[in-house]
């Protein structure tokens, strides 16, 4: 009886070992992979070392700009919050603040789009096009598309018509 039990246990150990080996080999990230969101770009768009280095440079150049925009957005939002809570009607100050927030958003999205174009140009043409499609889908730029859907579903809700 010892022999069959030994074979069964060996089989189970073999399965567990094969599982652990393959699972760990495929999923344990390297130190760099674990910390860099840019590696998603590299993998997703099959970038060469040269393309990746160029895109990293663009990304690092864009981040301080992006952080400044974030700070402006946060300050404008805080300002609006203060104004909204200080009254019970739409005051000229609130309208002005809303306009300011709209302008910041427009400026931010224009800078972001400019960055996306620069990144897409650093990629092979086909991948660059795919990157732009993905970024439009994944970022706040997709708001425009969502609204277009609403417009087609409800023609009477269309603006500027």
């Amino acid at each position: 009886m010892r022999k069959p039990i030994a074979i069964i246990i060996t089989g189970l150990l073999l399965a567990a070992g094969a599982y652990a080996g393959l699972f760990l080999a495929r999923t344990v990230p390297s130190q760099a992979e674990a910390t860099s969101e840019l590696l998603w770009l590299r993998k997703e768009f099959s970038l060469t070392d040269e393309e990746f280095a160029r895109i990293r440079e663009l990304h690092e150049g864009y981040l301080p700009d992006c952080a400044k925009m974030c700070a402006r957005i946060a300050a404008a939002n805080r300002g609006l919050q203060g104004l909204v809570l200080s009254t019970n009607e739409v005051t000229p100050e609130i309208t002005k603040k809303l306009s300011e927030i709209g302008n910041i958003r427009q400026e931010c999205q224009a800078r972001m789009l400019k960055h996306f174009y620069a990144v897409s140009r650093a990629m092979p043409e086909e991948q660059g096009r795919r990157y732009l499609v993905e970024m439009q889908k994944l970022t706040s730029l997709s708001n425009m598309r969502d609204h277009a859907k609403t417009e087609s579903a409800q023609p009477e809700h269309g603006h500027g018509m």
Partner: protein
């Protein structure tokens, strides 16, 4: 046909059978009849794994099963990780992304 019949008639068994032969046979039959499930499984396993081909096939199947499960589960983990990295990238370039994803 007649020849075989004649030979069979002449044939005699000259092997001596023990006196308790019947008793031994009946005891064995009784043992087999009253065997427990665990004992039946044990006997079956012993018989099955006595054949090297079956043992090798079993080990191969467990190996492939382990690899297949690891492949499926690690693919799922990698997809989730890719999607997290994608979200992190988007959040790093889009100040409005956090609000959209929350």
């Amino acid at each position: 046909m007649n020849r075989e019949s004649e030979l069979l008639k002449k044939w005699t068994v000259d092997v001596s059978v023990s006196t308790n032969f019947n008793a031994v046979v009946w005891r064995r039959i009784e043992e087999r009849r009253t065997i427990s499930v665990a004992e039946a499984i044990r006997q079956w396993l012993t018989e099955v794994f006595a054949r090297p081909a079956v043992a090798v096939a079993y080990l191969s199947v467990t190996l492939v099963a382990g690899l297949a499960v690891a492949q499926v589960q690690s693919s799922k983990v990698l997809r989730e990780r890719d999607s997290q990295l994608e979200a992190r990238y988007v959040q790093s370039v889009d100040p409005y992304a956090i609000r959209l994803t929350k």
